[in-house]
Amino acid sequence: MEQNEKQFDAVLTFVSKRKIDMGIMFASIIFGMFLNWSVIGIAIFAVFIWSIIGPIPSRVLALPALFFLAFTPILLAMGRNAQAEEFSIYAYYFLVMAVVRGVVEVREEKTANREQ
């Protein structure tokens, strides 16, 4: 019980510290709903926004891409081409996120090198 309360407090602290970020996340979800996107679409968009403001390292973003892409050949072998295409699209979304984060990482790295 005490453990749960501690965890809940941690979440609250996190949320209260990053009010603006939480607002942006909430807005991104509303934005997706406004454009009538699917739940998965909204979720991926929210991850994308979080990958920038979070931030999430590019290599972490590449993991779901690898996961989705790993299923693509299996689905193709099973003759489920439409589903394979859907999975490859999700993989692509995560790859784009990884690339966007990669740009930020590379530029931060170069700036840090210059300052040193």
Binding site: A65, P73, S88, I89, L95, V99, G102, V103, R107, K110
Partner: protein, 724 residues
């Protein structure tokens, strides 16, 4: 001797790669006596006679550099079949050398054996298999593929270096690569590629943007434009005509084509085409005894991209990481472009691919041609970073095995004899027994009649009968030759060929009506005569139904003496049309006569026109320029040129004192080109010329001078380097 030994020792991996490619060329020898005819492709043959028409005709100078080699081979007596191996050699050796250049410039610390393996992958992969199991490989069409790595490497080098002399390698490669734009759509796609690459080089700070770099980019663009101006200039009037046509009539076709050639994300990742998926390896699988292996290879075709993807986890920092991310981003963008109007890229791409100029990128390969290079670069970056680490050996062993399986037909042989796209639905996978083959053996009589046609000095044309169309425009179906493609008469003879299955007279596919029984068959020879056709190949090797349907008409025309047999054999009868029906190359008439694109009343109108015209003498002052003395022209008469209707043929009156005035074109005449002459001095003359060719000559001077400047600059720089 010591130097030779040292070079052999230092370059052993590079030379080993060359030896592997030599095996590829050797094991893929083509059966003697055969040429490539299939789809839209007829292997350029008889180049010792055809190079000029290639240069000045259809391609307006764009492919002359490429075909100069084959011209020399033809002159040296290398057979048409032998030349097929040269097409393969130029492509695979060129791609190998080009990628090696790139690797040494951009990834200089990579072990040489690794560079050789990756260059081999670039030269022999599923995309290059597509090129050579289709018929494109046996033309200039895909030759840009060879130049992409060298252009990229020298471009990056030119931007990174602060020395102006480092731009010369880029210019030299651009000069050679200019022959890649036989289809100018590739120039558009290359521009997109370089634009994206440049932006990414700045974004990932591989090159730092400053005014010096901006100036260097400007110099590279101007230099590249000048070296290419020889084909760009003649294209301007042609493109204007093309854009007009596009906006008027083919928008719906463009949308259809974009939808048809769209590619799934996963197929782009493994370098395959979604459209015609089953036509090419590994889906078109030649190893029948192990047919089950096809599924494994399909599965494994994802492996190179998985390796690239796992590369995202290994980088820590540094220049190579930035390069890797730049190329990875480029690949992501190209996946989106190659996908065209497929979800989730459809809303942007529908707009993008309809922009003027971009709408030329209709085929899948226009953008997909860059993906093997980007993938190979990423693999090179991945392995050079992984080199020496724990997983290197395992990953590399996996890659080598998969790369070999994915290009296996190159190493086992039979890219056209067993693997051709045309054999995709053939159970036996054997070109010799298949119903149709892209390897066609033309019987000897086809070659021997060249003398008969060549000995006729009059400018007239060749056509064919009966109506035996192939599967698309410009193709004919000759089952006895196993052929479905362009008529070889296009290339075998110096006389111009009137397409059976194409639009020569406006948009009228008149040959569709050749078998129509409601009219006197003489309309066919009247029409051919109007178009300047003197010789007709009557193909006994055509479809049996076509022969049967046309037989009564043939007997009738032969019986009346209109079609007169000159040469007869089991493959064809060569007829000539009675001269009284054939219109001259240049003629004058008192009036401008329009002829409806309709069989009814056609013969009467043509014969009426024929009684009122006068043949005009002329001198040829250039390949596509003639001079007609005005003495044969009456006041207010009309002059006709018996070439396919093209508004880019212009005519000028040249007065005796040398003044020139443009004559008014009569665009209602669609069976030829006609101009109103007005009142002229009999001592003057009429100059008739093709506008693009005049532009070509100016462009050739400009590009030639620039090229000499580049050579002089390169020599000067290398001398300065030698002198320290």
């Amino acid at each position: 001797m010591d130097t030779l030994k040292r070079v052999l020792r230092e370059q052993k991996w590079f030379l080993l790669g060359l030896a592997v490619l030599l095996w590829v060329v050797f094991v893929n020898r083509f059966p003697a006596g055969h040429i490539i005819v299939g789809g839209d492709v007829l292997q350029p043959i008889n180049l010792k006679e055809q190079l000029a028409s290639f240069h000045y005709g259809w391609f307006s100078g764009r492919v002359s550099i490429f075909y100069s080699l084959f011209y020399v081979l033809d002159r040296l007596g290398v057979t048409d079949t032998g030349q097929l191996s040269w097409y393969l050699s130029v492509f695979v050796f060129g791609a190998y050398l080009s990628f090696t250049m790139f690797a040494r410039q951009v990834f200089p610390r990579t072990p040489k054996w690794l560079t050789a393996v990756m260059a081999l992958f670039y030269a022999t992969n599923v995309y290059t298999l597509y090129v050579f199991t289709a018929t494109w490989g046996f033309t200039n069409y895909q030759i840009l593929y060879v130049f992409i790595p060298a252009l990229t490497g020298s471009f990056i080098q030119a931007l990174r270096s602060r020395k102006p002399g480092d731009s010369f390698p880029f210019f030299l490669i651009v000069s050679l690569a200019s022959t890649s734009f036989g289809n100018p759509a590739f120039a558009v796609s290359l521009t997109i590629y370089f634009f994206l690459l440049t932006v990414l080089l700045f974004i990932f700070r591989i090159v730092t943007f400053d005014w010096d770099v901006a100036k260097r980019i400007a110099i590279l663009i101007v230099g590249a434009l000048l070296l290419n101006i020889y084909w760009i200039l003649p294209l301007i009037p042609q493109a204007r005509a093309g854009v007009d046509e596009l906006s008027n009539s083919t928008v719906i076709v463009l949308s259809d084509t974009l939808a048809k050639t769209s590619n799934t994300i996963f197929d782009t990742m493994r370098l395959l085409t979604t459209y015609e998926h089953d036509t090419y390896y590994p889906y078109n699988f030649p190893f029948m005894s192990v047919a089950w292996a096809r599924y494994i290879i399909e599965f494994l075709s994802f492996a190179p991209f998985f390796l690239v993807l796992s590369g995202l986890f290994i980088w820590k920092s540094g220049e190579r990481k930035r390069l890797y991310f730049a190329f990875f981003t480029l690949f992501m963008v190209f996946i989106a472009l190659v996908a065209r109007v497929r979800f989730p890229f459809d809303s942007f791409n529908v707009f993008f691919f309809k922009l003027p100029g971009i709408n030329a990128l209709r085929g899948w390969d226009k953008l997909a041609i860059f993906t093997p290079f980007i993938l190979s670069s990423l693999l090179l970056g991945f392995f050079s970073e992984l080199f020496g680490k724990t997983w290197f050996r395992t990953a590399f062993a996996v890659f080598i095995s998969v790369a070999l399986l994915l290009s296996l037909p190159f190493y086992t042989g039979g890219i056209q004899t067993k693997m051709s796209y045309i054999l995709a639905t053939s159970k036996g996978k054997d070109f010799a027994t298949a119903k149709y083959s892209a390897l066609v053996k033309l019987p000897e009589p086809y070659y021997s009649v060249a003398n008969i046609l060549g000995s006729d000095p009059v400018e007239n044309k060749v056509a064919m009968l009966p109506y035996s169309p192939g599967t698309s425009v410009g193709r004919v179906n000759l089952p006895k030759l196993q052929m479905n493609g362009p008529d070889p008469a296009n290339a075998l003879y110096t006389k111009k060929y009137v397409e059976l299955n194409g639009a020569y007279f406006g948009n009228w596919s008149f040959a569709d009506e050749f078998s129509e029984k409601a009219y006197d068959p003489q309309w066919i020879t009247d029409l051919y005569g109007l178009l300047g056709v003197k010789y007709v190949f009557y193909h006994h090797d055509a479809k049996p139904s076509a022969l049967e349907s046309f037989e009564p008409a043939r007997q009738y025309l032969e019986g009346k003496g209109i079609l007169r047999p000159i040469k007869e054999n089991e493959w064809f009868t060569l007829y000539d049309i009675d001269s009284q029906y054939v219109f001259p190359y240049v003629y004058a008439g008192p009036d401008v006569v329009t002829i409806d694109q309709n069989v009814a009343g056609l013969s009467t109108k043509i014969r009426d026109l024929h009684t009122h015209i006068t043949a005009l003498p002329y001198d040829r002052s250039g390949t596509m320029e003639i001079n007609v003395p005005a003495s044969g022209l009456g006041t207010d008469s009309f002059v006709y040129l018996n070439e396919k209707y093209d508004p880019l043929w212009h005519a000028e009156y040249v007065s005796p004192d040398g003044r020139r005035s443009l004559l008014e074109r009569q665009d209602d005449v669609r069976y030829a080109n006609a101009w109103k002459v007005g009142s002229v001095d009999p001592a003057g003359s009429i100059d008739i010329y093709s506008v693009p060719i005049r532009f070509l000559l100016v462009g050739e001077w400009l590009s030639g001078i620039t090229f000499l400047g580049v050579i002089a600059g390169a020599v000067w720089v290398s001398k300065r380097k030698a002198n320290g």
